[in-house]
């Protein structure tokens, strides 16, 4: 198999991955970089479980080729904050958002981009930004509540999100 070397920054650290160039970024992150927080749900960009940040954008890593990360910055749920204290993570715990939990790294990574671009989102803004993240357990009302809570924390001087790590 023809292998490729992909050099990128993952959660602030320079990494070099020896991978099949066709490999989805999701598998490179999970199986090569051994970061298991980013989840596999559908594999076809339909559910949002695999969302991570590529140069600050909430890409679906299941359909993103690993080679797209060459020379770029990747942030996964593990790198969103140093001590799991990003306002979204704090709000998620405070409100006890997850049911089974499977969708939530994707939910939080999407919500982080929303709050970066819109620090004071309305319910409609949240629905629009989060419409691509499915939760089979139906935790949507708590997700919405937690995003409002995190926005509040950010507005009152809480920690900024770490997408620019």
């Amino acid at each position: 198999m023809l292998m490729a070397t992909v050099s990128c920054k993952i959660n602030g650290k320079d990494q070099t991955l020896e991978v099949d160039p066709q490999m989805p970024l999701l598998w490179a992150i999970r199986d090569v970089a051994r970061l298991k927080g980013t989840k596999y749900g559908c594999g076809v960009a339909q559910c949002g479980a695999c969302v991570l940040h590529l140069n600050g954008e909430a890409v679906r890593s299941c359909v993103t080729r690993v080679t797209r990360a060459e020379g770029q910055k990747v942030v996964t749920i593990e790198g969103l904050s140093e001590n799991n204290d990003h306002p979204l993570q704090v709000a998620w715990q405070e409100i006890d958002v997850p049911q089974c939990g499977y969708c939530h790294s994707g939910q939080i990574m999407s919500a982080a981009v929303l709050l970066r671009e819109n620090p004071n989102p309305t319910d409609q803004d949240i629905d629009r930004a989060m419409g691509g993240n499915i939760c089979r357990c139906g935790t949507y009302p708590r997700i919405r509540k937690a995003i409002h809570r995190a926005a509040e924390m950010l507005r009152s001087g809480g920690k900024r999100n770490g997408t620019d790590l």
Binding site: M1, A58, E117, R128
Partner: protein
Amino acid sequence: MNGGNKRYTGNRFWLTACTLVFGLGLLVAMAPDFTGGKKPRELTPDDNPVIKKDSAASIKAFASVYKVLMSPRCMNCHPSGDVPLQGDDSHLHIMQPTRGKDGKGISAMKCANCHQPANTPGLHTPPGNPNWHLPPADMKMVFQGKTPRQLARQLVDPEQNGHKDLRKLLEHVNDTLVIAGWHPGEGRTTPPLPYAEFKKAWITWIENGAYAPKK
């Protein structure tokens, strides 16, 4: 959730790789004539692309143009609302992304988060292009619901067509995002005319005066 990309395995890689190599070879061998059988003239910025005023020829050509532009591959990204359409039945895009200011989506729902620079392999996976977008919010270039007359008039109006004069409009047929309609990815139909025929009709419509039909 169904998935064409369920598990990434070595076998699957080789199958995909072989299919791609074979498919690419086949594509090269069968490469369509993108000149439309008629090369557009090299135009300088001062050239008027209209060669003659022939309303009958122009309107006849526009009938073919209209058929293509109203097909799902073109119309789905020219919706009347702010949510793109999807599928051969032009339903609202399932996760309801919105166009945003620049047509590239908003926050976690930007087009390029899913739509890669090239088509993603697999059935009904996101089609790709390096510049995937809708028209911007200040110039929506709606196709959905337009009659031939309305659409033709909109297409030639720089206030509604992205500030294109007729020369730029003529060249727009070569835009890679336009051409992407004929490479829509597995599970999607292509527009009702081959690209070459569409291109020929587009050029004929404009070169003969870019007339709008009566209705």
